[in-house]
Amino acid sequence: MTTQAMAVGRMAPRRPRDRAARKIPMTILGVIFLVIMIFPVYWMINSSLQANTGAATTTWFPLQPTFAGYQTAFAQQGQNLITSLIVSLSTVVLTIIIAAPAAYGLARFRMRGIVVFVFVLLITQMIPTIVIANALYTLFNDVGLLNTYIGLILADSAAQIPFAILLIRAFMSSIPQSLVEAALVDGANNFRAFVSIVVPISKNAIITAALFTFLGAWGDFLFALTLTTGADVRPVTLGIYNYLSGNVQAWGPVMATAVLASIPAGVLLILAQRYIAAGALGGAVK
């Protein structure tokens, strides 16, 4: 098919409207691919709006939508959603406070050992979380951080900091040195130059890193599963897991919780869209 289409495309007279029209089947094919790929997202929303989910009564369309699932979800998972929000936002703040100066240090200063540290940061990305959780459980048990917000925030931050550093550093390396030099000549020290010049310029990169950090912390499941045991500190990811590990009777509230757990990511992505652009891809590949 590919060969044929290309050959035809090459020989056909170049009339734009004709070409666009000939490509309509491609669009239809594209829509079909997309429908298959995002069907689970649709099904999540569809099921969350139906009443007797669980028996074979879930229909393909929510013709008689009900918000009963959401009511149950809020009643059962409201507190967990707030917990997730507290943990994720705190993680973002802590991660950026640690990562932004480090990224600057790694981008600007050529000290011995810096190359090694960047290498270590890359390696951390490959280490399975379960390996960390295993040892962290014993450490947190010793210092009393199990079942605490602080413990979870620290663990989530640690998991996000290396990527945040690499992402912000990639941008900061491109800041012209002359800008910072000027401030230094004016008598500012490195720290003041960093706060008043580097941070404002790097706003986009920092926002991108903050967004990824939020998504990572919000979606964290394994640290929540291993470092908390009771109901005191329970993020919504664990709330969903607790539904799944039992025998699910009614899927409506579960799907409603899944929708609620997906909303912050969606809202943030839309808000931050214009800041992300290239930052995301650069970080993912590098």
Partner: protein, 317 residues
């Protein structure tokens, strides 16, 4: 860039050699001040990556169980944990499952991702819009995706069996049958990986200069021939990055498996990562859990090295 800052602040040795700094005493203070930028991050990495890795090695050589938390004693047992883990009948099961899960996921994700990337590259009406919608599944936390798929794959009233029922296919126990569960879990993981593969490979394809195709078509190379002679060689480095990163991330997967099957039925979806979790946090055999973790980390690091080797070569180029 370097020429400017080398004089003023960087490379102390060289700077001093060229123009002796009037305040040499402060040199140490200045270096210390610079390290202050990086120090908190180094501390974090040391505590949350360095310590756990060392601690894990120690734990794997000790009889570290629930009792250890009360008595504080973890007797040295040498390689006994490794012996019992490797001697366990589950060891070969989890290794095979891990290999099948990783290879199955990566191969399918890559082929489908590349197919979609090639498809979307041929600008057609709405192609950009459809491609961006493809990223929608990324908004779901992994455990939420697991929940949705567990519901879709439900034997009695799941959407998939409802759909297949329209064609007269009898209800299939996707997640309940030991012979199907791994296939189902791999399928879900493939679904999760397609947007990533498509996005990165698409950006790789965008970077291939159009003139190459024009030149090749003059030589009669179109379609498959153009793909193998131009596209593939041009995106090869992106391909290696996608695959190696995919392997490393797939080895880590725990959320999806725990959410969908919990490693069952009858351990048919147990991988090294979930087994390490089971050992430590379900059976409270932290020593053995650490041993399994260490096997996993060795496998991951081998691929990590491959990744670093590839990216490094790219940087040099």
């Amino acid at each position: 860039m370097t020429s400017v800052n080398a004089d003023i602040s960087q490379a102390p040795g060289r700077a001093i050699g060229r123009a002796p700094h009037p305040r040499r005493k402060t040199h140490f203070a200045r270096t210390a001040a610079r390290w202050m930028f990086v120090a908190p991050a180094i501390l974090f990495v040391a505590i949350f990556f360095g310590y756990p890795i060392v601690k894990n090695v120690m734990m794997s050589l000790e009889k570290y169980t629930t009792a250890t938390f009360y008595t504080g004693e973890a007797p040295w047992v040498g390689i006994a944990n490794y012996a019992s883990v490797i001697g366990s009948s589950l060891f070969s099961t989890t290794v095979i499952n891990t290999a099948l899960f990783t290879i199955g996921s990566i191969v399918a994700q890559f082929i489908l991702g590349l197919g979609l990337a090639l498809f979307f590259k041929r600008n057609f009406p709405l192609s950009g819009f459809l491609r961006s919608l493809l990223l929608l599944p990324w908004l779901l936390p992994l455990i939420a995706s697991s929940a949705v798929w567990k519901w879709i794959l439900d034997q009695d009233s799941g959407a998939l069996n409802q759909f297949l029922g329209l064609f007269g296919v009898p209800h299939t126990p996707w997640l309940v049958s030991p012979s199907l569960a791994l296939v189902a879990v791999i399928g879900v993981n493939i679904w999760l990986g397609i947007p990533f593969n498509t996005t990165i490979l698409y950006s790789g394809l965008q970077a291939v200069p159009e003139e190459l195709y024009e030149a090749a078509s003059l030589d009669g190379a179109t379609g498959w021939k153009a793909f193998w002679s131009i596209t593939w060689p041009s995106i090869r480095s992106v391909v290696s990055v996608v695959i190696v990163l995919g392997v490393v991330y797939t080895l880590k997967v725990v959320d999806i498996i725990l959410g969908l099957t919990g490693g069952g039925p009858a351990n048919s979806t147990q991988t090294l990562a979930t087994w390490a979790y089971q050992k430590s946090f379900v059976q409270f055999e932290f020593g053995q859990g650490a041993a399994v973790s260490n096997v996993l980390i060795v496998v991951s690091l081998v691929f990590a090295m491959v990744y670093l080797y590839i990216t490094r070569k790219e940087v040099d180029e």
